[in-house]
């Protein structure tokens, strides 16, 4: 047995291969032929709205939900028919699921006790796991004496104490308040770098997913919508569902004519590769749009609009404006003296600018 924080821990991580996993409840496809490769040592997030099937997929990985068909491999081993207690993976449950009749040490040591580890080594491992989650010396506390954040850490310690090569997390931060959640996101990220185990993380919070993940798998209606790194997912969504779910955006219809892409009959300047097909959409992100001050900048698409509302939000302001075709778009900018001074009044006619670099053209499909 090696140390929990062993330098070669990354070598102990296992890749996960998911192939054509399908699960139906009656006529509803909770999972519809999902295939996904999780790389060894990767932090992969399953992101989707509630009811999308992301939790079902995690439960299939953990062995708590039996799929109708498909294949699941940890490394080279087929595990789809293995019962959960033989899968040897750590899991952090949404409500922590800490055993209320045991102390902190009892909870953290539970997987070791099941594995019949010697007392002395067990105590050392428990303490080390608790120190890893910054709860050293908390072993004798009762679960009921802990705060939400501490419970979260204990649940994490219990999931990593036996050095599993795969770690699953089911919305572990959803019960924490925002400040603690932000801090735990960074901590979990560091912990993952430190331990190096393959991690599959489920959340419906896109910001959380963007903050923590190496890659994000967006899931909707039991199907994989897109699998990509956070930056690419945000900047180049594969379809309207992903573009809509990750960040805010408005869409304008566009169409391909030869090499050019037209929006409202005007050709669009764009730098990135436009999507294939003829029916397309231009994605307008609030923070990518700018207020034009009359100056004629090259490489910028211009959209005349009428201001409908300006909302002050402390660190930023949000302006809603209606384009000529009736589409309501949002524009967000940081609050500085110069941006505040130049804010137009409600009802004013403005021109919104979108730089060619920020002009993303996606297929006009829901996925």
């Amino acid at each position: 047995m090696t140390d929990i924080v062993a330098p070669d821990a990354r070598a102990g991580a296992l890749p996960i291969t998911i192939r054509d996993v399908t699960k139906t409840y009656g006529s509803v496809h909770a999972l519809d032929h999902v295939s996904l490769d999780v790389r060894s040592g990767e932090f992969l997030t399953l992101l989707g709205p509630s009811g999308s099937g992301k939790t079902t997929l995690l439960m299939v990985l953990a062995g708590f939900t039996r799929p109708d068909s498909g294949s699941l491999r940890f490394g080279d081993e087929e595990v789809i028919r293995k019962p959960p207690h033989e899968r040897d993976l750590g899991m952090v449950f949404q409500n922590y699921a800490l055993f209320p009749h045991m102390t902190v040490a009892g909870n953290v040591g539970y997987p070791l006790r099941i594995r019949k580890m010697a007392k002395a080594e067990m105590a050392a491992r428990i303490e080390r796991a608790l120190e890893t989650v910054q709860l050293g010396g908390y072993g004798e506390r009762r679960i009921t004496q802990l705060s939400g954040g501490q419970k979260q850490r204990v649940a994490l310690a219990r999931a990593i104490v036996f050095e599993p090569r795969i770690l699953l997390m089911d919305e572990p931060l959803s019960a924490l308040d925002k400040k603690l959640r932000d801090r735990m996101q960074i901590e979990l990220r560091h912990l993952h770098e430190q331990l190096g185990m393959t991690t599959v993380y489920v959340t419906h919070d896109q910001r959380e997913a963007l903050t923590m993940s190496d890659r994000i798998a967006v899931i909707n209606h039991g199907r994989l919508m897109q699998l990509a790194e956070p930056r690419e997912l945000y900047d180049r969504p594969a379809n309207r569902f992903v573009a809509d779910f990750i960040g805010e955006s408005a869409f304008l219809p566009a169409e391909r004519q030869g090499d050019a892409v037209l929006c409202h009959g005007r050709p669009l300047a764009h730098e990135g590769q436009a999507a294939d097909g003829t029916r397309l959409s231009v994605m307008l992100r609030p923070e990518r749009l700018r207020l034009m001050n009359g100056e004629d900048e090259p490489d910028t698409n211009r959209f005349p609009a009428t201001v409908e509302e300006v909302v002050y939000q402390g660190d930023s302001f949000l302006m809603q404006a209606r384009l000529e075709d009736g589409t309501l778009v949002s524009l967000r900018d940081v609050v500085r003296r110069d941006t505040l001074a130049g804010l137009p009044a409600v009802g004013a006619a403005v021109t919104l600018g979108l730089h060619a670099r920020d002009t993303v053209i996606i297929p006009d499909s829901e996925g």
Binding site: A62, F64, P83, P84, Y110, P111, I114
Partner: protein, 305 residues
């Protein structure tokens, strides 16, 4: 300066303080609440405090009508009383034990069923509650007696040759009492099992525990409060049980309650009967007091968490 002068004026003005009025309102509200409680308190006084006080008083009155301890001395001196207390204790412990052995697995089975099926089974558990205790006890007598249904059928099927003695002894008493007490055990155990979050078992399983280990290390300890509450109810009810042991015991199983009855009916000795009642009451209180150190007694009523 002008501002502080204004606040000063506010502070000095008694009409803006209102503390006397607020205190009076609080007192009135408490008085009103007490007034609403008083019928209940009066009821408790009339049907509980006065009779129990009377019971204590009568138990210290001797045969000649003067104050004496003879009713308690008799219990101490005569062997038959010790035997009666022992029998009471034995029947209660055995009944409780058998109820646990039968009721716990049944409650577990119920807790794992889907809601509809579990509700149907719960109705089956509760059904006996709606039937008279006396009828149920005599029904057992009819079933279990020498030429009863059970013996007739078993002999007819060749299970045993001679009629077995099921009633008018300890066996009959236990069969009848277990049947009557079982719901009192099943209900609290079931409700404490239902309160166990299924995620605990998933977590145990994820930690590597097989179904059997997960049950003993997680489910069973978490169901103990309900089991303890149910056992306590059954045990305490058994201590004072009368009808079933009287009918099915056939005079061979004498419990404290039956001795109380015979003291009153045969010997018209209210003092002796009261003293037995007091001892039974004190014993029960002692058991509850000890039990309270292990489990919250309010669980006895609700059974939940």
């Amino acid at each position: 300066m002008a501002e502080s002068a204004i606040t000063g004026a506010y502070r000095d003005d008694a009409r803006l303080d209102n503390s006397d009025g607020l205190r009076r309102d609080a007192f009135r509200e408490q008085l009103a609440l007490f007034g609403l409680c008083s019928p209940a308190l009066l009821l408790v006084l009339i049907i509980l405090v006065v009779p129990v006080g009377w019971l204590f008083y009568v138990s210290f009155i001797g045969a000649d009508g003067s104050f004496s301890l003879e009713n308690y001395e008799r219990m101490w001196e005569r062997k038959s009383y010790a035997r009666i207390f022992w029998t009471t204790f034995e029947v209660s412990v055995l009944t409780t034990g058998i109820c646990i052995a039968l009721g716990y697995p049944f409650a577990y089975f119920l807790s794992q069923l889907p809601a509809r099926a579990a509700n149907l089974c719960l109705i089956a558990v509760l059904l006996p509650f709606w039937t008279s205790l006396l009828v149920r006890t005599y029904a057992w007598l009819v079933l279990l007696q020498k030429r009863g249904l059970v013996n007739d059928w078993a002999i007819g099927l060749g299970l045993w040759e001679e009629p077995l003695k099921f009633v008018h002894n300890m066996t009959g008493t236990l069969i009848g009492m277990v049947h009557i007490m079982l719901p009192f055990l099943i209900l609290p155990v079931y409700s404490s099992m239902k309160a166990i979050n299924q995620d605990y078992l998933k977590a145990a399983s994820n930690c590597g525990a097989g179904p059997v280990r997960a049950f003993w290390t997680v489910f069973f300890p978490l169901s103990l409060p309900g089991l303890f509450a149910g056992s306590l109810i059954v045990f305490v009810l058994c201590l004072g049980f009368f009808v079933t042991p009287a009918v099915l015991g056939g005079g061979k199983v004498i419990m404290v309650s039956m001795k109380i009855a015979s003291n009153v009916e045969l010997f018209v000795n209210w003092g002796a009967a009261s003293a037995l009642g007091v001892v039974l009451l004190v014993m029960t209180m002692l058991i509850l007091w000890v039990a309270a150190r292990f489990v919250k007694l309010d669980q006895l009523a609700g059974g939940g968490h």
